[in-house]
Structure formats: structure tokens, C-alpha cells
Symmetry: none
Subunit: 186 residues, 4 copies
DNA sequence: GATGAATGAGCCTTCATTCAT
DNA sequence: GATGAATGAAGGCTCATTCAT
């Protein structure tokens, strides 16, 4: 039954990610369990504490960031000015920001930080490689760190309450543009 | 008891504003009542529905934005390059962003939008006057609207979970800098 | 200001009577105060406890029952068979039953009974006079007491939840007919 | 835990029925839960809305009415005059009336009526069979419907505030007698 | 005397978490 | 291992009652 368990684990992480993204950070655990197609008990078997679920989501995030980096490392070396917006778009697509609140809130931070950090550092290193190439191409100031870049992007793309978009259509992509422009050297 | 009631009303709005800013949009109403130094029933007398509380906070916000504009209109005419960062800092200080989720979420939007819009438009007009001066001084691109400026600032300064600041110290002010740089004409 | 106070007192009793009749026994005291056009404090000044309000309503009831008796005593002597249904209809109209739950529930019965009883006895005596005439005309069995008659009528006409009337239209008047028929001697 | 759940469900219905009968239609849900020996959450799992609890009680009522009909159908055929009061007493015993307010009030009537009606019609049909036998024996007028009979009985036996019985001892059974007498053909 | 604001207890409801099957 | 039922602690809200003006 090892295969079932593994599939369940993956389903739960995916469900958590989707629900946090679509329904916000207050999605009930029961909804996650249902979305994953498992019972509440199963969720707790796999992730006894919130930290564990957080860690699971972080693992998924880290792995996916590596995939993005794989995809764009070549293009960024060949033609950085053309590739850069595509890379950024793919990172934005991950909705890191939407996950962040749950990832960080309501959690014994001392405990989780240590567990997260390795994953996070690996992901940041992957992002950093691309950012370095962007610096080389004059797309990003020299003093910008990978962590700053990633965090800034996360903040800029945090989902807005739907009603906000009514006021300023497409804030998010406008803001990413402004952000990227602001990152450039003078 | 008219004076007491008015004081209580103001205390509740202030408490709501502070708690939404510090503890996030899920601050329990009981906490707001306690912070305001009133009973739960008093909160309900003044603000029977969430909309009413939201509207109260929006009113406070609108009034305060006008004060900020009063303060900076002169300096922006005299010496825009020096005044601009100070104006922005004052707007940031209002933590509009921290209030936004509650202002927009979990509320019968159709109903409240109409009531809010007049206040909001007035506030945006006030902000807009200053932004126009900034455009005149070459600090902001011509195609930026007051709504875009304000919303972008709000998103950039939305409070992060405290743990996030551990990773990138002072993200918010760094991000505001990047944002302002990105707003400039090429 | 004696006149004002008296008018307020009457307005409160009338409001209580109307609200208990229309909105049921759970009408909030604040609604009664509003219906009476006075503040909550005024209601409490006149009727410090529920008993007092109950007593007030009972007084109104007693007085009105006497009026009904005045109106029908003559006709019942002249032409009892014709007058009897009219008398019953007038008593039904008082909606004694609708008031009963509040009159009797949630009240320190030991205390209130003593205060009520004199009024009630007077009212029952008034009803009794008419009932005696009905007995003389062969409309009511000899062993029926005024209290039984009144209470039975009250029970038979207690207001039904509105949805119940959908099932059996006009239950109340049908039931009063059956009741009156059941009261007759064999 | 399927067995436990079923037992809990039954216990909740029984508790609701008993509390509505004894403490009136305003019995707090917490009291029902306690009486049933379950937590508040369990009550909500089984009956997420008031409609659901109402429906549960109606189901119990319908089933029990059928049992009563089973018990009396034979006797009513053999010896209707002797059986009739016993049948009526058993129906009275169900305290349908005590349940009625909750069954009908404070409920989205449009929604629940449809769900209830089948059960109710079946129960009325069962009662109707016995009533027809009573008509055949000259105990009930021809124009009385099963719905009228049942509703009249319900109204006549609705529980009185305890203090009312002090005035007229045993109103309920006296009233049922009068009611039955009133139902007879002239 | 009248007013209506303030209070706080109590009820309804949701949801994270545990546990029997 | 999986399931989903049970639990109980909050939180939202109402309303009887008190009290300052």
C-alpha cells in the first residue's frame, strides 16, 4: 500500500497548494482533505502538524523552481533580454506569494525555519543563477540578492481581493513591469 | 452620553485599524472591542454589519489621506524632488494595504462599493494632485494613474508575515524604493 | 408630566399586546419599546420586572373583557341563540391565547398569581354571567365553568404558525365551531 | 463507527422531541446536544440546518403514527365505540402539537414543505383510515377531513404553560372530550 | 422622568484535532 | 493505513438589563 500512501501525500500537497491559491489562506483543512479525495484522518497521518504540511508545500515549490531554472538557464545564456520576462512569468505563475501566508503564519517558526531553510536555500540558489545572468546582461542592478528578487516578486504578485482588480485592471502584471524596470541599473 | 458614544465610535475605528494592521484581517471582533475598551454589544450598536465597520475605516482613511495631501501640496510645488519621498512615506505609513483585505473581502461588495466609492474617489483625487506634481517634476511617468500609483503602493507595502522579514530584512522599504524607481520615465 | 407618563404606560401595554399577538411571544423588549415610541429605559421605569408588564397586560385584558360583557349582556337576555356566536367572536378577537404564553411563562408565578388573580377572577365573573345565560338557553352544558370555557377558547384559538394554515385553511374558526358544538348538552 | 453514528442520530431526534415537548420550542441546541449525550458539533454533523432536524423529527413522527394506526385498525373494525378513545389518546400522547411550532417556524418553509409533505401525507392517510372507520360508526361527522381532525387535535392538546393548568386542572383532556363530542354528527 | 448607549451573558455555528472502527 | 464521526474551544451575534446624561 506504499503506492497509495505516496499518491495520497502528493494529492494532499497539491490540494493544499490549489486551495490556498484559489480560496485564500483560510481554507479549512477539511476542504483540503476533500479536495484531495481523502479523509481528515489521512491528512493528519501524513502531516501531523501544520509545519509538516508547510514543509510539504515548500518541497513542491522548491522542486518546481528547479524545473523552471532548468528550462530557462539555456535561453538566459543565449538571449537574456528575450528570456528574462519569460522566466519571471514562470516564477510568477507559481504563485509563491499566495502560499506564503500559510507557509509562514500560524506555525512554530523557530522549528520550521530550520527544516525549510535547506530547501529554500536550494531554491534561491537556483533562482540566483538566473538572476546572475540577468545582472550580466544589465537587466538587474548588482546589489540585488536572489532573496530580495524572489521576495519582491512574491509581494508584487500576492493575490488581491477580487474586488480590487475592478479598480485597477491587471494590477499584477502592471506592477511586475514596474518592478522589473525598477530593478534595472540606472 | 452623546460625547461618550462618539468617543467610543472613534475608539472602535482606531482599534479596528490597528488590529487589522498588526494582527491581520482575521482579528476577532472581540479583540477589536477589547482593544477599543468597549463591550461586544457596543461594537455592534455602532457597526451592525461588517460593511459598516469597513465604511467607518474607509472614512478615517479618506480623511487622513486628505490631511497628508494638505501637508505635502506646498512642498511638492516648491521642491518636488525632496518632498516626493516624504509624501510617499506618509502614504505608506497609513498602511492602506493592511486594511485592504478587510475592506474588500467578506463583504457584500455590491452594496458597499457604492458607499465607498465616493470617499475613495475623493481620496484618489487628493493623491492624484500630488502625483501630477510628481509627473511635472519628471518623477513619475505620464501614463500612471492615481489609482495605479495608490494600488501599487498598497501591494508593495502589504504586511508580510513576521517570519518573512527574517529572510529579507526591510523588504518593504527596499520594495518601495524599487517601485519608485520603476515609476520614473526612462 | 403626569399625563405623559400615563400615556407612555398605556402605549407600552398596547405595544406589548400587539407585538405578542403578531410577532409571537419572543418579541424583543426593544421592539416593544420602539413600537410604543419610547426608550428602553422608560419601559423599565414603568415595568421594572416582567411580572409588572404581565400585570399591565392582564389589566387591559380584564377591562376589555368587561366591555365585551357590557355589550352582550342585553342581547344574551333577549335573544341568546343569536347573540351567543357574536359574544364568542368578540372574546376570540381579544386573542387572549396569543398573550397567554408571555403572560404566564418566564415569570415568578408564585408572586404574580396573587396579583393577577383578583383581576382574573373579575374577568371570569364577567364572562361567567354570559355563560350562565348561555346555559339557560341550552347552549352550554351545566357542568362547564367560566374558567373552563375561557381556557378552552383560548387554547382553540391560539395562533398557529402561518404555514400550518396552508394545510387546513381557517382551522381556527372551524375549531371554534366544533368547540361550541361540543359544549352543548346532549 | 457507523453503529455509533446511527445511535447518536436517533438519540438527537429523541432529545429534540423530548425537549420541545417539555421545555418548549425555544430549547437551546446545546441543551438538545447535552440531553442526547453528544457534543454540539455532532448535532451539526447530523443536522446541519434546522430543516434537517425538523425533517428528522417529522420522520420519527410519521413512523410512530403508522405504528399507532397498526395497533388500532383491528379494534376499530371490531368495536369502534370502545376503540376510538384509545386511538385518540395514543395520538394525543405523541404531542404532535408540542412539536409543531419548531416543525413549522423559523424554517425556510418553501424548502422544507416539499420534503415534509410526503411523510405528512402518508401519516395523514394512516390517520384517515381510522377516521373513516369512526365515521362509519357514527362517531365523526362526514365532512371532517383527516387533516382537520389531526390539526384540531394538535391545537387542542398544545402544551399550556405549566401555570395555566393551575387555573383549570386537566384542561387538555377536558378539551379533547369536548372536541370529540363536537365532532359527532347531530 | 425620558433617553438611548453600554454591558455581558448566552446561543448558534465552524473548524482543528482526536479516535474508534 | 484509511475513514469519517465526535469533540470542544472560539468566534459572531442578540438581547435583557443597567446607567450616565
Amino acid at each position: 500500500m506504499r503506492a497509495d500512501a505516496r499518491a495520497n501525500r502528493a494529492a494532499i500537497i497539491d490540494a493544499a497548494r490549489r486551495l490556498y491559491t484559489t480560496r485564500g489562506p483560510d481554507a479549512p483543512l477539511s476542504a483540503i482533505a476533500e479536495e484531495a479525495g481523502v479523509g481528515a484522518g489521512t491528512l493528519y497521518r501524513h502531516f501531523p502538524t501544520q509545519q509538516d504540511l508547510v514543509l510539504g508545500v515548500v518541497e513542491w515549490l522548491s522542486a518546481t523552481i528547479h524545473e523552471v531554472r532548468e528550462r530557462w538557464l539555456g535561453p538566459m545564456q543565449t538571449n537574456p533580454h528575450e528570456a528574462w520576462p519569460g522566466f519571471v512569468a514562470d516564477i510568477v505563475e507559481l504563485r509563491v506569494a499566495a502560499l506564503m501566508p500559510r507557509v509562514v503564519e500560524g506555525v512554530d517558526i523557530e522549528t520550521v525555519i530550520a527544516q525549510i531553510s535547506r530547501r529554500r536555500d536550494a531554491a534561491l540558489a537556483a533562482v540566483g543563477e538566473v538572476v546572475e545572468l540577468a545582472k550580466g546582461a544589465g537587466l538587474v542592478r548588482e546589489d540585488v540578492t536572489a532573496a530580495q528578487f524572489q521576495m519582491g516578486l512574491a509581494v508584487a504578485t500576492r493575490p488581491l481581493p477580487s474586488a480590487a482588480s475592478a479598480l485597477v485592471p491587471d494590477v499584477s502584471s502592471w506592477l511586475v513591469e514596474v518592478y522589473l524596470r525598477g530593478l534595472r541599473p540606472d
